[in-house]
């Protein structure tokens, strides 16, 4: 396990570290159609998200299913176009990039998916799978490609390499498949890695190994990593900051320790309560969880989106006005009226 960096180290680093990706007031809305052509509103999957990620920093985006974290991630991967707002990578605004620029951007962003088996084309060999991004990335020399494949596979510890090159995905175990996915994400030597629940489909026994592998790669290549998950228990492995997402908004942004030790937003508290630690006592105790379901993203509640489920709701404020971000302690931002 990699030790969580001390708050002091991070602060020191932050002052000198460059911003890799900066997201400013990002909105991703999907139009709903009626009868195939009539307008019937929008699904507001991402609704005003702002954050920066620095060089060699890992952030975790945490939230339950349907909170918009996948849409956020796909927009960062330039698979969706933002409805409003800006994504700036290496001082370049994505919306202003032409096709060539977009190609450049895509070669600098790696993508690790959730389901390793689905993420690998079943009719391609491992070699072909790893070769594809290189071909697309314009590396014409076959020798060079093979060399890079070998390097990437050694990095993810798929050795001996030659034993794996001609295998099809279904011949590999889940852990090996995920290593291939990581190798594919790393093969263009990206600056930013987007990992969408990289271990949620794996056996508990290989989860730690994969997380360790990711954190090793991150340290070795000075990678910035966006780690998307609904599982708080894996976050502390290698993240520095946590963003808690609820119904299209980031409700709390803070360092891992701050969130785990001192959660401020009522939703974060609920999330942490829901995380089970392997402790026999937990079988006896009853945990208080917020009632109800996450809201519809088509018609989100007015004011704070969590207010219908919140136990600390302030009537007349929370259900009327959308909370801005407050900073009750340094580096710990929370969008909740309790801290005004």
């Amino acid at each position: 396990m990699v030790a969580v960096p001390q708050a002091k180290d991070i602060e020191n680093k932050e002052n000198t570290r460059k911003t890799v990706l900066s997201i400013d007031d990002l909105h991703v809305w999907f139009e709903l159609k009626r009868f195939g052509f009539g307008h019937a509103g929008y699904v507001k999957a991402v609704d005003g998200v702002t954050f920066d990620i620095h060089e060699s920093e890992t952030i975790a985006v945490v939230g339950e299913s349907g909170c918009g974290k996948s849409s956020l991630m796909k927009t960062i991967l330039a698979l969706y176009k933002p409805t409003k707002g800006k994504i700036v990578f290496d001082n370049k605004d994505l919306s202003e990039l032409d096709n060539k620029g977009l190609h450049w951007y895509r070669s600098h962003v790696g993508y690790v998916q959730q389901d390793p088996y689905g993420a690998l084309a079943p009719f391609m060999t491992v070699q072909r799978i790893l070769e594809e991004p290189l071909i697309v990335g314009g590396i014409k020399d076959k020798e060079n490609r093979i060399q890079r494949i070998h390097k990437a596979m050694e990095e993810v510890k798929l050795t001996p390499v030659n034993d794996f090159l001609q295998k099809f995905p279904h011949m590999l175990s889940g852990g090996q498949q995920q290593r291939v996915v990581i190798a594919r994400a790393m093969i263009m030597e990206p600056k930013l890695l987007v990992a969408d629940e990289p271990v949620s489909m794996l056996d508990a026994s290989v989860r730690v190994e994969i997380l360790k592998l990711l954190s090793n790669l991150q340290e070795k290549h000075n990678l910035s990593v966006i780690y998307i998950t609904h599982d708080l228990s894996t976050v502390s492995y290698f993240s520095e900051r946590i963003f808690v997402m609820y119904a299209g908004n980031l409700v709390e942004k803070a360092k891992v320790r701050q969130v785990v030790d001192n959660p401020l937003h009522p939703y974060t508290m609920a999330l942490l309560t829901g995380t089970s630690e392997p402790d026999a006592k937990n079988a006896e105790t009853f945990k208080e969880l917020p009632p109800g379901e996450p809201p519809s993203l088509v018609n989100p509640p007015t004011g704070c989106r969590f207010h219908p489920r919140c136990s600390k709701v302030i009537k007349g404020l929370c259900d009327v006005k959308f909370p801005p971000e407050f900073e009750p302690e340094p580096g710990h931002l929370v969008a909740c009226w309790l801290y005004q």
């Binding site: 070669s107 998916q113 993420a119 391609m124 990335g137």
Partner: protein, 448 residues
């Protein structure tokens, strides 16, 4: 390479695949043989040719091997000629250098019931001014010598035994065949079996003059496949029809399946109005009468087989299979390996051709093989409907000719059955292979 070897090994586990492959290999061998031995222009010339090309053949002759099934053997046609040495010729110069004698003899065993339709001798002679002279005689197995004719030979001369009036007078009968093949002792009008001999004694009256002869016997049976109304050897369309049928079937099946798949993939991938357009075209095309359009094109425009092939492919692209392919593409379009490909920047055409379509190849191959016979039959049906290619000898044309001439009504079954059986064998071969391929590529059918 190993994948190919494995597929072949898988294939050989199914007896139907072995049978199908054997049939297809046989048809392929026949095609190659036909294309190598009969050039295209020669095939067209022979198929168009009339009396002057096919004079050696009798009309409406069944295949010679039918004799196996007859207790009374029917006479089999043959033709022999001096030019290729199948009939012996000896030239003897005389004391006068201008004059030489030519002796042509041919003896053959005749062991059939009944008499031939006709005997003919085609003479060709080369000279400047002075005609050559021949006398023809016929030696029967019992030793009688019948004088057939004495005549001067022009540059070319055709002598038909049964139509020569002098011979009829000499034999005192109009039925020459009966007279020269009958046993005069017999009261039952049985023909005499044994060795007959044709003797031609010729005389030339110039230094370099020559006489050549071709002797033709028109029997009831002919060759390996028989002949039709126009004396054409049916072996030609049966042989040459094989590559045409296979080419039409394979090209149509391949063209249709591949184009359908690419269009379905492109429509699914781009979505929006492209997909809408493809779907609407498909729906309209599904209700268009396919055969009626082909008949219209054939009637008003051209009946060339290649045009028909083009129209067939064009009309079959937007078929129902576009819908079934689309339903699978929609599924794989959403798969996360395609999302990954988009994330690393693969272009749309790369996604269509390297990610969407390869996944469908296992479904495509059995469908393609099974689709071939339907196109082979389509080509034959068009020919039967009188829309066959006007110049090419094809199986369908043979059936069409037989049908037009009332072959079945006249009892000439061989004429219809030969091409029909070839069509059935072709369909059977592709179907057998298709079933096995379907089992190999479609895992749900495995081990059933």
């Amino acid at each position: 390479m190993t994948a190919l070897k494995n597929s072949i090994r898988d294939l050989l586990r199914y007896p139907s695949a072995i049978l199908g492959s054997v049939i297809l290999l046989f048809l392929l061998a026949v095609s190659v043989y036909a294309l190598v031995t009969i050039p295209y222009s020669e095939a067209v010339r022979l198929w168009r040719g009339g009396e002057e090309v096919w004079y050696q053949n009798p009309k409406y002759a069944a295949p010679a091997w039918f004799n196996i099934f007859y207790s009374k053997k029917k006479p089999v046609s043959f033709s022999v000629r001096t030019t290729d040495g199948s009939m012996s010729k000896a030239t003897t110069p005389s004391s006068d250098p201008e004059i030489s004698t030519v002796d042509i003899t041919y003896s053959f065993d005749y062991a059939y019931e009944g008499v031939p339709q006709e005997l003919m001798i085609y003479f060709t002679s080369q000279f400047k001014d002075k005609f050559s002279f021949v006398s023809v005689s016929w030696i029967t197995p019992d030793g009688r010598t019948i004088r057939i004719a004495d005549m001067a030979v022009d540059h070319s001369l055709t002598f038909r035994f049964s139509q020569d009036q002098k011979l009829q007078k000499r034999l005192k009968t109009e039925d020459v065949m009966q007279a020269i093949f009958m046993d005069p002792e017999s009261s039952t009008q049985a023909d005499l079996k044994g060795q007959y001999q044709l003797v031609i004694n010729g005389t030339t009256f110039e230094k370099d003059a020559t006489i050549d002869a071709e002797f033709v016997l028109h029997g009831e049976l002919f060759g390996a496949a028989g002949t039709d109304k126009y004396r054409r050897d049916l072996l030609l369309p049966l042989l040459y029809g094989t590559p045409i049928a296979l080419a039409f079937g394979l090209l149509a099946a391949l063209g249709t399946s591949l184009l359908t798949m690419v269009i379905a993939a492109a429509g699914t991938w781009y979505g929006g109005w492209v997909d809408e357009l493809i779907q609407r075209i498909t729906e309209v095309n599904l209700v268009l009468p396919f055969l009626a359009i082909l008949i219209m094109v054939g009637t008003f425009y051209s009946r060339s087989i290649w045009l028909m092939l083009g129209v067939t492919i064009l009309l079959s692209i937007f078929s129902g299979s576009i819908k079934s392919y689309r339903s699978i593409f929609i599924q794989s379009k959403e798969s996360s390996y395609i999302e990954a490909a988009r994330a690393y920047g693969a272009s749309s055409s790369r996604i269509i051709f390297s990610y969407l379509i390869p996944r469908m190849i296992p479904l495509l191959i059995p469908a393609l093989v099974s689709a071939v016979p339907s196109f082979v039959f389509l080509e034959a049906s068009l020919a039967v409907l009188g829309l066959g290619d006007p110049v090419l000898p094809t199986w369908g044309k043979v059936i069409n000719d037989a049908f037009a001439d009332g072959a079945l009504y006249q009892g000439r079954y061989y004429w219809v059955l030969e091409p029909a059986i070839l069509l059935m064998i072709t369909g059977f071969g592709f179907a057998m292979l298709g079933f096995a391929l379907d089992r190999i590529f479609n895992p749900r059918l495995r081990d059933i």
